[in-house]
Symmetry: C2
Subunit: 419 residues, 2 copies
């Protein structure tokens, strides 16, 4: 029998948690949510969740870099993990991250209130957005050991002041030199479920309440640097130009064409483009453009990236421009755990909550957790697919349904687990 | 019989003038030439030319906004005008502008040394590059009355501190409220010749020494604003995107195609492009791009502009993007005076100096003078067509030949003028 919850009460509690964290002491901006690792507003946000967990009798600690952990059974016992992150991007909204921590907290409350005694760990990962130090999923990558000493020591500097990550971490009271011990944050997990806003509009446009994420897309991030020849817009005939922006235009359209052709929901985006010198009356001499191509089929998105690299070389050569393709990152897709997916689906069905299987196009901390524990994610609709913007909005009633489904999925998992 | 000059001496004197003005007191940057109206380095530059003219016995003054004028006959007598400008763009080189003033000065020297007694006026126009106040050809437009009280009072603000042009002008000791009196700067001209670097590579690539400019291109400057829909690059399927940058890419390529199709050496350039939000993992929600289309055939370049406006609307509609086309400026082509062109050509032929007729794709102060006096321009090659950059380079030996041709053209014009 599924646990039946007071949905209105859960809705109100989740709304209270998320909206409290939009108050001035939790953000450095008056027009957006802005909080990055090791800032006072981030400290207060983590303290807010820590206090709520302690009220429920959880032991709460932070690992050597500042991932927040709360647990209701002694350390070393097997637990189910729930959580997300509570930092924001640089022009953020209330829901991306905190929603998942608030849903985790609500599941903890419900487990206690309904006498379920689920062994639970809540994790709020540090610096998921990379807004403080420029590297996404930082806390979960450290916990998963997906980083090197060199990267931590030399590659990570604060966007705001250029000082090293390790300096900031030490000043905030952490022990970044002991980062390998953060591995313990992911020990003993029998399962992991992260709830997050969809950051797309599929659920909204379909009228479906929850997304059950069966895979997180992998991606290639790259830059294409084009070096042509600047020239006076009036004094340089069309023939003989080496226009870096016209070359870029061909590449942008080809990226789009390649993604559509690749199928399997592969996407490709050129989101950044810088023009030098960037004057109305000068033929562009140099352009840098970014490529983001993703999907759950690695051959498909990697094919887009490599075909685009070849196309860029060819288009540039035709135009007397030099092209340089530089890969920033390549990440494989992360499949979710079939058992947890089934438990989520059965729980949603039992409660009559509409849902669909879907891929996550966005990256999430769960990509790092999935190497250590059976993992899954639940998506909640967000208005018009907007995220990473102050207008980001979501319905706490949907979040309450996510909490209900996650709670019941854990009950199912425990019931079927080998003891 | 043409006047035969000591070309090496003229080369050295022109080189001395231009290169002196690259010394630290004449530029605010250590890596480029930077001087804008009403700055100390601009003041010193104007003073340099004023002192050289006074040494030749010229009367020197500045008009109500600061155009520098020197003349070797009493005011009110008919003169031939020579000159250019001595401000720079924001990342400028030594030659764009000062070359023309230095050649004018050299013609004055030669006229004296050869006992020609030509009645001469040298003008160095204020703020041709628009680097101080954002409006090109400012001094010559004011002299030509091609500006309004409103523009001068409300439309012109210093790029560096946002304060009004009139404030800066007054503080520098000028009388901007009397700008209409600057019209006198263009009185009494029997002809006008401006020498300038080509800012293209046609002369260099052909191995021709001088360009004799038969028309200055007109142009349309416009912006296209595209409003699509930002979305997470991973969570937004290819179908249903409203990608402002992909729309812009189509427009960039169409601008190029339209210019080539228009013929008559019409050109079109997209030189500025801003992407919002400009993040690798966000589908671009908004783009602004600039259009510069020019030529000496007004129907041709205006046709490019209007066809591109239609194309932008259509491409945007296809993609669910809103397009807004906003014209900044439209300027008609300026034909040069046939008599002066013939005199220049005959002088070059007589001296055995290679030359070609050509259009100026770039705008020049001569566009404003041409409404008041028969006008022409002479182009000197510049290395690789580079201008508006510290690497800008030109050969003072070519400039000396330009001075020789201009001097002899004036002698011819005087000989054939009705007395």
């Amino acid at each position: 029998m599924p646990v039946v919850i007071d949905r209105a009460r859960s809705r109100d509690r989740i709304a209270h948690d998320v909206l409290t964290l939009t108050e001035p002491q939790y953000t450095s901006s008056s027009t957006a949510i802005c909080r990055y690792a090791y800032t006072p507003e981030y400290r207060r946000t983590a303290d807010y969740f820590a206090a709520r967990l302690r009220e429920l009798g959880f032991e709460v600690w932070e690992d050597a870099v500042g991932n927040l952990v709360g647990q209701n059974v002694p350390r070393g016992e097997r637990v189910y993990g729930l959580g997300s992150h509570c930092d924001s991007n640089r022009n953020g909204g209330p829901w991306d991250g905190p929603l998942g921590v608030a849903v985790a907290l609500e599941v903890c409350r419900l487990s206690g209130e309904h006498g379920l005694d689920l062994p639970l760990r809540v994790i709020s990962f540090l610096e998921e957005e990379g807004s403080g130090f420029g590297q996404m999923l930082l806390g979960s990558r450290i916990a998963a050991g997906r980083i090197t000493d060199e990267e931590l020591r030399d590659g990570l500097r604060a966007i705001d002041d250029g000082r090293p990550f390790v300096e900031h971490a030490r000043e905030a009271g952490y022990r970044p030199q002991e980062w390998r011990s953060c591995s313990e944050t992911l020990d003993d997990l029998d399962g992991w479920i992260e709830t997050h806003i969809e950051q797309g509009r599929v659920l909204q446009d379909e009228g479906t309440t929850l997304g059950i994420v069966e895979a997180i897309a992998g991606y290639v991030h790259a830059d294409v640097h084009l070096d042509g020849r600047a020239g006076h817009a009036g004094a340089t005939p069309m023939i003989g130009r080496a226009d870096a922006l016209a070359t870029a235009a061909e590449i942008i359209l080809e990226a789009e064409r390649l993604a559509v052709q690749a199928g399997h929901a592969t996407v490709a985006t050129v989101g950044e483009l810088d023009v030098e010198p960037g004057l109305i009356n000068v033929v562009p001499g140099a352009v840098r453009l970014s490529l983001d191509t993703r999907g759950v089929r690695e051959d498909a998105f990697r094919g887009v990236a490599s075909a685009l690299e070849s196309f860029a070389q060819e288009a540039a050569r035709r135009r007397g421009v030099a092209a340089r393709y530089v890969q920033r990152t390549a990440v494989a897709p992360t499949p979710m755990d079939a058992g947890i997916l089934a438990a989520l689906q059965e729980s949603a069905d039992a409660a009559g909550i509409t849902h669909r299987r879907m891929a996550s196009g966005a990256a999430h901390d769960t990509m790092c957790v999935a190497g250590r524990a059976p993992s899954a994610m639940v998506f909640v609709p967000c208005r018009d697919g907007i995220s990473h913007a102050p207008e980001e909005d979501s319905d706490p009633a949907d979040a309450a349904l996510a909490a209900e489904v996650v709670l019941n999925a854990l009950v199912r998992l425990r019931a079927t687990a080998p003891s």
